[in-house]
């Protein structure tokens, strides 16, 4: 689309056609009292040069911290071709076009993406993406209630090992549709779910679904087979929340469960950001979702299918649209009206460039780096690993003192040291969540360890200040 601004002549011609004196007149219907004259704290217009200068200075003030925070958004190396290709004119749009079939290239890309998600998750059908991992989980919960024919329940088991932000978003979206959430506790010793605890918390009337995050919010690997079997035996669907990079190392959710009950997870969703999307202050990211063919009509969002044209040549088309809102109105499977096409484009290119072997090397490197980090940090007196459970690329560390001042001291030393779990999981004590991906070299881990030792042994000004305030 060319960039063509309106000239004053264009504007006055258009106004005269509709019989309006000015552009402001078009907004006459809005009562004066509702119009904001000026925004508090926001200056009036400045030149592009001034704004660029101001924002560059503000960004520089943030510094470039060495990042050891994960908790749902992960810093990975993104090969240069990913965004060089994704930002080409042919791809550079967040939307699937109107009259989608006219854009066969875009549809093919989405089809390839769906196929990759199916291959990673071991599922039969994937949609064209959702907004992000958290809203994907909310949609998965609503979908599970629609899809679970064996249960009338509108309750979902959302354990405390699920990312607390995801749990909050799912509640926000689903609670007004009569969905209730229960949050079973985890085993404090292992940092994962225990079947015995789940059994004990069973309410009469049952649940529509059990959410299993793998690896869980603490980075630990859940006992997915036993959990899946237990959920299915109790007429629940299994919603798997997975890190797509980890799937290069671990069994896909489609194969969860013992052989006897081994039907796998029913719905798989997660955050696609680790696949070639930069951290970028929290977004835009994209969510992915996949399911079995038997539940495909309950899956929200767009789906691209492969077909043949009247001459038998292969082509791509939007399919299963009858469940969507432009046809089913209020009874549509969801109110999702767009997807994160550009991010999906980047992820598809990322996966194509890495291939299965490359993704496995990234995942293995992440796991190895995190073990190095945990070993280096737990050698420091007053720092211990909270759990001794197999994990992927995150770990909970427990300190002998409050976490916030330590993180502040680390930040002063150029290190983003981790996520304080005090607010979300106070039961863990002075705990923080740390992460190392393939981007962290030995010297980075050493720098973190030195800074942490330093911060613990010699309280900084920031720490003193924080303690004073507390």
């Amino acid at each position: 689309m060319p960039f063509i601004p309106h000239t004053p002549t264009d504007v006055s011609e258009m106004l005269s056609v509709i019989g309006a004196e000015s552009i402001d007149e078009l907004f006459d219907e809005i009562p004066e009292a509702l119009k904001a004259a000026a925004l508090e704290g926001v200056p009036t217009g400045r030149s592009e040069m001034e704004v660029a200068r101001l924002l560059t200075e503000r960004a520089a003030a943030d510094g470039r911290l060495l990042n050891f925070i994960g908790a749902g958004a992960y810093e990975h190396h993104i090969p240069a071709p990913v965004w060089a290709i994704a930002t080409r004119g042919e791809f550079y749009s967040a939307y699937t076009p109107y009259q989608a079939e006219a854009s066969q290239g875009t549809l093919q890309l989405i089809y390839e993406y769906q196929s990759m998600i199916c291959a990673l998750t071991g599922m039969e059908a994937a949609n064209a993406s959702l907004y992000d991992g958290a809203s994907a989980l909310a949609e998965a919960c609503l979908m599970a209630i629609r899809a679970n024919r064996g249960s009338e329940s509108r309750r979902i088991l959302m354990p405390r090992t699920v990312n607390p932000t995801y749990a909050k978003v799912a509640q926000t979206i689903a609670r007004h549709q009569g969905v209730e959430f229960e949050a079973p506790a985890f085993d404090r010793r292992t940092g994962r779910l225990s079947i015995d605890a789940l059994k004990g918390s069973m309410a009469s009337g049952g649940y529509a679904a059990l959410v299993i995050q793998q690896p869980n919010f603490f980075g630990n690997l859940e006992e997915i087979d036993a959990l899946t079997d237990w959920a299915h035996a109790n007429r629940m669907l299994v919603i798997a929340v997975v890190n797509p990079v980890s799937l290069a190392l671990y069994r896909p959710p489609g194969e969860w469960g013992s052989e006897a009950g081994g039907s796998g997870a029913d719905i798989v969703c997660g955050e696609g950001q680790p696949l070639g999307v930069p951290l970028a202050c929290g977004g835009p990211y994209f969510g992915f979702m996949a399911t079995r063919l038997s539940h495909v009509r309950q899956m929200p969002g767009r789906v691209v299918g492969r077909t043949v044209d009247t001459e038998g040549r292969p082509g791509f088309t939007l399919t299963l649209q009858a469940r969507e809102q432009h046809i089913r109105r209020s009874k549509a499977t969801s109110n999702i009206c767009t997807n994160q096409g550009l991010l999906v484009t980047a992820a598809t290119i990322y996966l194509s460039l890495l291939g299965p072997e490359g993704l496995e090397r990234v995942a293995a490197s992440c796991a190895e780096r995190t073990e190095c980090l945990v070993q280096a940090l737990t050698r420091i007196p007053g720092v211990a690993a909270a759990f001794d459970t197999p994990r992927f690329h995150e770990a909970v560390l427990v300190l002998d003192r409050p976490v916030p001042p330590v993180l502040a001291a680390l930040a002063e030393r150029g290190i983003a040291g981790g996520l304080d779990l005090g607010a979300s999981h106070p039961e863990l004590g002075h705990a923080m969540l740390v992460c190392a991906t393939e981007t962290k070299l030995d010297r980075d881990i050493e720098a973190y360890a030195n800074a942490l030792r330093d911060a613990i042994e010699s309280p900084s000004a920031a720490r003193a200040q924080l303690e004073e305030r507390a």
Binding site: R149, R297, A322, R323, I327, R328, K331
Partner: protein
């Protein structure tokens, strides 16, 4: 194609037909008019046997390439049988809406108080006026 409205059935304004099976059960489907309006059906979802239905409740979904519609139970009762053949062959509903395309059978309670329904002539008239 003219629309077939058999005389021996009863009808609703939401285009379901009802056949009294004489054993306390009724058979329910959608009319020839409804299947023609929907076009080629690609998916039919019928309720589980044993499900308790209230008259007017959405209990089945018929989906064509261009639309998806709810089917409303004309009667209250419990689902006694459902037409599982439709899951593999939804086109039966297009080819034989009053026969092989039936959706479900419902066992009505002891005092069936639903209705009144439309007679064939009334339904034909209703469709004509609405169209």
């Amino acid at each position: 194609m003219s629309e077939n409205v058999p005389d021996d059935l009863q009808y609703t304004r939401t285009h379901e037909w009802i056949r009294d099976l004489g054993n306390g059960q009724v058979e329910i489907g959608i009319t020839d008019h409804a299947q023609q309006a929907l076009g080629d059906l690609v998916f039919v979802e019928v309720p589980q046997v044993g499900r308790e239905l209230k008259a007017g409740e959405a209990c089945a979904v018929v989906e064509s390439v261009k639309a998806a519609s709810d089917v409303y139970s004309p009667v209250s009762g419990s689902v006694a049988a459902r037409n599982d053949a439709l899951s593999d062959k939804p086109e039966l509903l297009n080819s034989d809406p009053y026969g092989q395309g039936w959706l479900m059978r419902v066992a009505r309670g002891s005092a069936p108080a639903d209705g009144p329904f439309l007679k064939a002539t009334e339904y034909a008239q209703f469709v004509k006026e609405a169209g």
